[in-house]
């Protein structure tokens, strides 16, 4: 019999992460979300709202709009498009841990061999996959409507390689930030609604930066975009480690901090 260390006993971190266990979490989460009316409504209504506004904005532009105005309005429309991956996963990620606690499923899950990191990665992927599908879907629809119904010079301003590439690139990066922020808040919250409100707020900082581009405060250069993307990539890649540190199994089970 060995002397017990007072470190969390469930915190064993030996061996590689298990893909089947992560897959099990992702599958369960998606099954559960599909039947959660609040999440379904949130994930449907929010993207629609953030697509309608730029569509109206873009369609309202006259054919003889000034170049600077056109650039600004297109930038604003694309910013709206980036709000979708920022805000949409907040509903899911905020629910991810505190929701488990509320329905009493946290304890049974933690009594399995599932590691904290696997749990968190599974949760994050389950939020990321529908977010990407929705965000790219909404963006694709926006492009289609622009191509079909906007004035040709407006459509030309939208269909610029760098802009489209930035949109494609930043969508998962912004979503990643939002997801990890949401899960981190969820892991420390005791109430789903509070977690969702805080998560929505926490999803906004990357948008603040992109807003600066859209409103011409910052000049969007390739170098700056790459730096920003790299920062987000690092944050997203290390998010699971940072959130793991916040994930206190003992507090989640007993409501008290590990002593």
């Amino acid at each position: 019999m060995s002397l017990i260390l007072t470190r969390r006993p469930g915190a064993g971190r030996t061996g590689p992460l298990s893909r089947p266990r992560i897959r099990a979490v992702v599958r369960k989460e998606i099954q559960d979300y599909r039947r959660n009316r609040f999440i379904v409504v949130t994930m449907t209504v929010m993207p629609v709202i953030f697509m309608i506004l730029p569509v109206i904005d873009t369609f309202a532009l006259p054919s003889d709009v000034a170049s600077s105005m056109l650039t600004q309005r297109v930038g604003l429309s694309l910013l709206y498009m980036l709000i979708v991956p920022a805000v949409t996963p907040a509903a899911i990620s905020a629910y991810s841990v505190v929701g488990e606690r509320e329905q009493g499923t946290m304890e049974p899950v933690l009594t399995t061999p599932l590691r904290t990191e696997e749990f968190l990665i599974g949760k994050a992927l389950a939020a990321l996959l529908p977010t990407l599908a929705i965000s790219y879907g909404v963006f694709g629809l926006f492009l289609l409507l622009t191509e079909l119904f906007a004035h040709p010079n407006v459509a030309t301003a939208v269909f610029q390689g760098p802009l489209l590439l930035a949109q494609v690139l930043f969508t998962p990066l912004v979503a990643g930030w939002s997801i990890w922020a949401g899960i981190a808040i969820s892991a420390r919250s005791n109430d789903v609604r509070v977690a969702q409100q805080l998560s929505t707020l926490a999803s906004l900082p990357p948008l603040a930066v992109t807003s600066l581009f859209s409103f011409g405060v910052l000049t969007p250069t390739l170098r700056l975009a790459l730096i920003l993307a790299a920062v987000l990539l690092v944050v997203d890649s290390l998010g699971w480690r940072a959130v793991s540190a916040l994930f206190d199994r003992e507090r989640l089970v007993t409501g008290r901090r590990a002593s």
């Binding site: 369960k28 399995t112 003992e250």
Partner: protein, 328 residues
Amino acid sequence: MSTTLKTTSPALAVTGLAKRFGPRTAFSDLSFQVDQGEVFGFLGPNGAGKTTTVRTLGTLIAPSEGSATVAGLPLTPANGIEIRKRISIMPESPGLYLRLTVAENLRFFAGLHELPDAKDRIDRALRAVNLTDRANDPCRSLSKGLRQRVGLARALLNDPSVLFLDEPTSGLDPVSAREVHELIDGLRRRGVTIFLTTHRLAEAERLCDRVAILNTTLRTIGRPDELRDQLFSKTLGVRTARPLADPAAVFTGLPGVESWRADNSAGDSSDDGCGSYVLGVTDPDLAAPAATRALVAADADVLSLSQSQHSLEDVYLQLIDTDGETAS
């Protein structure tokens, strides 16, 4: 494949285990062993530390001091995952995903255990709890008793060598509770070690090979009959149609009889004119025939002669009441 250990090492061995939350002690100085295949009852009032003990042994929370082995492995941080592969815990609240079906719930947990033959295991677990026909029902539609059975099916998925059941019949109606008892009986026959926390004393008496009574510290541990013998002297109760003229002459010096007294607590004895006596005995099998012969010789009309039965509840109340008196 069953993970039941085939060695002779105890399923659980606990030495000096304690858990504190800040200034509050959940439990302390806990030492006991549970043998493989044993059904071990862990009794105590609310707040005694039963659930915290289960969570500690189940690697959910860290002990403040002491040591333990669980399913053959030292309870250390590095062994957390390996221990959880070998055990199952069924919490008091089954904790099911209510929007998912029974089968989806079980499939999820089979995935977390990385069970290679998940479908077979799920089918087996559902058969074990008689829920095969409800596999595709959403858990939301199940009664509390049925949800409890799903929780038990989930706990059986990984063929645990140690199964922790935390108040498995809490809130269940008698029929549902009886079904859970039958399931536990079935697991005992399969040789599964069961650590059962409950405050249903009849349940513990019926199901458990040994019981421990906890009230922050361990108050006693043993077989229910041993505990009764430790705490209560053996007695024979005698009722006669009329009070004996000279009971001392009848009972004094009988083999196996240490003492006797008139049983004034039998309120009806004076009302109905009966005699009632309690004999303190060392060996009921020796004392009962001798007392019968003496009563017949004294021309007494014997209505009944019976050995007094103390239940586990009497033991429990005696110990917990003692704690209450000590505290006050």
